[in-house]
Amino acid sequence: MAKWYERTEKSILSDDKKEIPEGVWKKCPQCGEIIYYKELARHQHVCFKCNYHFRINSDHYLVMLCDGGTYKEYDAGMRSGNPLDFSDPIPYEEQLAAAIQKTGLNEAVRTVESKLNGMSIHLAVMDFRFIGGSMGSVVGEKIARIIDRSLEKKFPLIIISASGGARMQEGVLSLMQMVKTASRLARLHDAGIPYISVLTHPTTGGVTASFAMLGDVIFAEPGALIGFAGPRVIRQTIGEELPEGFQTAEFLLKKGFVDAVVDRRNLKKSIDEVLKFYYA
């Protein structure tokens, strides 16, 4: 039986095998159970038999968390430029166009205003399908703006991360988005407004080393890979295999870096509890 920690790193990088096709049946990669797609959707894409969390896209999170599945999206049209004229091995514009075509999104994060169990929230959801959820200028700018809006309206902020890290195609400009987002969060913190960070599979690199790890409360989905360096780089550096379960949500919980590992089916309720604590 395959286990979550036996995920190959290929699935951590950029293949879409774990995406859920709109087919009728889906096989659980962990326990092998064949699940009726509608049944899976009803369980927030968690295997009812072994709790394996299938990767889901931003639409699913928005529907799952926003009351009535409704929200007002900000900056949906914002698109990246190609500031470095990056064209290796293919022009960055083409890569962006392909990602836009594939996902129907303009970038790797969506930022919305909505309500969660009647409480006003700002919510940012990353989408791994869009160039591995990497953070370039647009992701940084949209996150910075939703933080500023939270500051202005005093709405609690929730960010769902899923990212391979900073986007290489924008070079040092991507790197600086880490400061852009972290510095805004410092202001939000000083204003006493809550920020809940939710880490999903995978959350690595520059996203981990900026807003993802700065939540007042940090939740992680079961089995999610979370780290700064990717497993392949670590393996190459130390020249040996990584221990079982290394860099998983459960590992981070044990090491003290997340508040709780939360089953996706309980995510809304868990966020609700934090918000109620804040408003109580």
Partner: protein
């Protein structure tokens, strides 16, 4: 240790050797070679000017990594009148890949923090090639908070191939440590001056690099990932790093053109490693100028500018 000579330095190094020989002969045998020495010096200068004006990005990366280049502690020794290193993060350990301490420069108290590489194998065993662990970033933050308490400006020297990607580093929260530094440095109530003296790779550099002013030495690089790392992801071939360096636009001049670096400091002809003392002298002058400039702002102005400096980075269409 054998002296390392980069390809494009070879001819220059040969001329330097000739000059040194002639000068030695003058001393030993009381000969006079002034004319010849003068000629060779002129030749060196014009060749060096030509060579260094036309370096490609990968050659600059190589210069930034030159093992004879001055490191953080070399500069501190030359620049500071007094220096006391302070150790440890008070939580886990002292990370020798980041050094920090209190110093006086021209009667100004400053906190200096920097990545520290080793000069040889033994030193690099200790310094871990300037690749910090989380405790390095946490030590840096502790010292920065100390500096804030004492109302003293902070100078950071950046020179790292990246934060260390190891088991312990991940276990102790490398990502959290860097994130925390970005968060705290962005609102630290003292001026921060960052100077890239060698290589600036990724979050490992940025973890001590949030600043009011970012200064880069001429032959340095700074980007989101190493050229090798970029090449191994994009081309699945790390040996294509030169191509990745070009694509990512990593040099000091690139960062100045992109509006990320505020100032590029010219190095002595042929690079900092050919004349470290001269380099230190130039750097000291620049530091004093920059501190003077930063003193001209109120703290509130400084913090607002710092927020905007990073807030405006990025290219997008709406």
């Amino acid at each position: 240790m054998a002296k390392i000579i980069l390809d494009f330095e070879r001819e220059l190094t040969e001329i330097e050797a000739l000059i040194r020989d002639l000068k030695e002969r003058e001393n030993l045998y009381n000969e006079n070679h002034q004319d010849q020495i003068h000629e060779l010096e002129k030749e060196f200068e014009s060749l060096a000017k030509k060579t260094y004006a036309n370096l490609n990005r990968w050659q600059r990366v190589q210069l930034a990594r030159h093992p004879d280049r001055p490191y953080t502690l070399d500069y501190i020794q030359q620049i500071a009148d007094t220096w006391m290193e302070l150790h440890g993060d008070r939580r886990f350990a002292d990370d020798p890949a980041i050094v920090g301490g209190i110093a006086q420069i021209a009667e100004t108290g400053v906190m200096i923090i920097g990545h520290q590489k080793g000069r040889n194998v033994k030193e690099n065993m200790i310094r871990n090639f300037g690749m910090p662990q989380p405790e390095g970033y946490r030590k840096a933050l502790r010292l920065m908070k100390l500096s804030e308490k004492f109302n003293k400006p902070i100078i950071t020297f950046i020179d790292t191939p990246g934060a260390y990607p190891g088991l312990g580093a991940e276990e102790r929260g490398q990502g959290e440590a860097i994130a925390r530094n970005l968060f705290e440095m962005s609102r630290l109530r003292v001026p921060i001056l960052s100077i890239v003296i060698g290589e600036g790779a990724s979050g490992g550099a940025l973890g001590i690099g949030v600043a009011d002013r970012l200064v880069m030495l001429e032959h340095t690089w700074y980007s989101v990932i190493t050229p090798e790392g970029c090449a191994s992801i994009l081309f699945r071939d790390a040996t294509r790093a030169p191509q990745a360096a070009e694509a990512m636009k990593v040099t000091a001049q690139d960062l100045f053109d992109l509006g990320i670096a505020d100032r590029v400091i010219q190095e002595p002809l042929g690079g900092a490693h050919r004349n470290p003392l001269k380099m230190a002298e130039i750097l000291k002058r620049v530091i004093l100028e920059e501190l003077q400039l930063l003193k001209s702002f109120s703290l509130d102005e400084l913090l607002e500018q710092r927020l905007n400096k990073y807030g405006q980075v990025g290219v997008y269409e709406e």
